[in-house]
């Protein structure tokens, strides 16, 4: 009888351990990136603009969101790219903040130390705001920045972007793109990807728990709980202030120096 209990305990441990490994999964590593401010459309992390510009952009961003049924134009200034290229950084930031509903998003990014600018256009706006158009805006930004200072330059370009996306709602050149982007690729949570299996798994775990308590007085469970406590460190909480609409970018847009 004792032999049976031991083997049962062993098998239960093995199975619970395997299940736990599946649940915890692989934490996808993300570069250190800021979260959006509560204004969402205006994020002057490098503190190069004054508050009037900030209010203007935040208001225009809100009204553009309404007039385009979910299009989001976001301004971000950062002090430095810290080694990434501006293309990598802006794509990662765009996708982290999930700018734009139905992928209708634009990110206008300035990196002050490297003096690089980029307009990153989400899948949904690729036909509306082309690479060439983006580049023209960036060249214009550079000139305005020289002539009239950064506040004027940023506000003008931001306004231009909003006008473009408000005026040309339906022109999407590559409609097939982006439709595949509905699944999450990260090694993330087992529970989120397989709700049915997860429910079944929960029932199984409960049954095993009961068996364990009967057979080994809960010793196995205790050991596993200790393991879980040690290894669960979920990074990057707080999607509270993020009001991104779930959009993604495929890397469209253009970069330039200023």
């Amino acid at each position: 009888m004792k032999k049976l209990r031991l083997s049962a305990a062993f098998l239960i441990t093995l199975f619970l351990a395997a299940a736990c490994i599946g649940i915890i999964g692989v934490q996808a590593s993300e570069p250190e990136m800021p979260n959006p401010t509560s204004a969402f459309y205006f994020n002057d992390f490098a503190r190069v603009l004054d508050t009037d510009s900030g209010s203007y952009i935040a208001r225009l961003g809100e009204s553009t969101y309404k007039s385009t049924n979910g299009g989001q134009v976001v301004f971000v200034s950062i002090s430095t790219l810290g080694g990434s290229t501006i293309e990598e950084y802006s794509n990662a930031l765009f996708n982290k903040w999930k700018i734009g509903t139905e992928d209708k998003g634009v990110l206008f990014l300035l990196s002050m130390k490297e003096r690089e600018s980029r307009i990153e256009v989400g899948y949904g706006y690729e036909g509306v705001l082309t690479d060439i158009e983006s580049n023209k805006l960036l060249v214009k930004f550079s000139e305005l920045n020289e002539e009239k200072g950064i506040d004027e330059a940023v506000m003008t370009i931001y306004t231009d972007i909003c006008s473009i996306v408000s005026g040309n709602e339906d022109a999407v050149q590559y409609p097939e793109m982006g439709k595949s982007r509905r699944y999450s690729i990260t090694g993330g949570s087992f529970f989120l990807e397989n709700p049915v299996a997860a429910a079944v798994l929960v029932i199984i775990v409960l049954v095993l728990l009961i068996l364990d308590i009967i057979l080994t007085r809960g010793r196995v469970t205790f050991i596993i709980l200790r393991m879980l406590a040690a290894s669960s460190r979920r990074g990057g909480g707080g999607g509270r202030r993020n009001s991104g609409g779930g959009g993604r970018s495929g890397g469209g847009g253009s970069s330039s120096g200023f």
Partner: protein, 186 residues
Amino acid sequence: MKNKTWIIIIGIVVLLAVYVIGVQRSLVNLSEEINASWGDVEIQYQRRADLIPNIVETVKAQAIKEQEIFTQIAEARARLSGAANIQDKIDANAEVTSVLGRLLAIAESYPELKQNQGFQDLRIQLEGTENRIAVARKYYNDSVKSYNKKIKVFPTNIAAGILGYKDEFPYIQAEEGAEKAPEVKF
């Protein structure tokens, strides 16, 4: 007494079956993710291929006599249309990347070409397309990596082996210089 043993054995078999089913479901998701992300890569490759005739025409219109590069471009395009499976397409597009790189390098020594508005616009479009290829490539490689991890890690590798999921999707290597497309600053 014997009944108890049977119950435990059956219980374990059921648990294992459910586990394998769970693994199968996620492997299906992961391999479909690979197919979808490869589709995006192909779209961007096609977008770039579509730009090539315009670029060639613009360069030729400036009466630039560099026949060798045009021949190489024609060969690269032929190889593109002949590519059938994923690996062939990856290789053919790597050749396109290096041929285009050479063309742009040649264009550097022709000031009339560099100042030509049409050529400048094409360079911007090309740079944008190369960036899109880089982004799509990254998603594809990430999805292949997730899939490979799942089929190789214990204990899911056992289930994967039983179900017949193999390490069969190639990674796309980033070609030299393709990561940083030439900055367009005039």
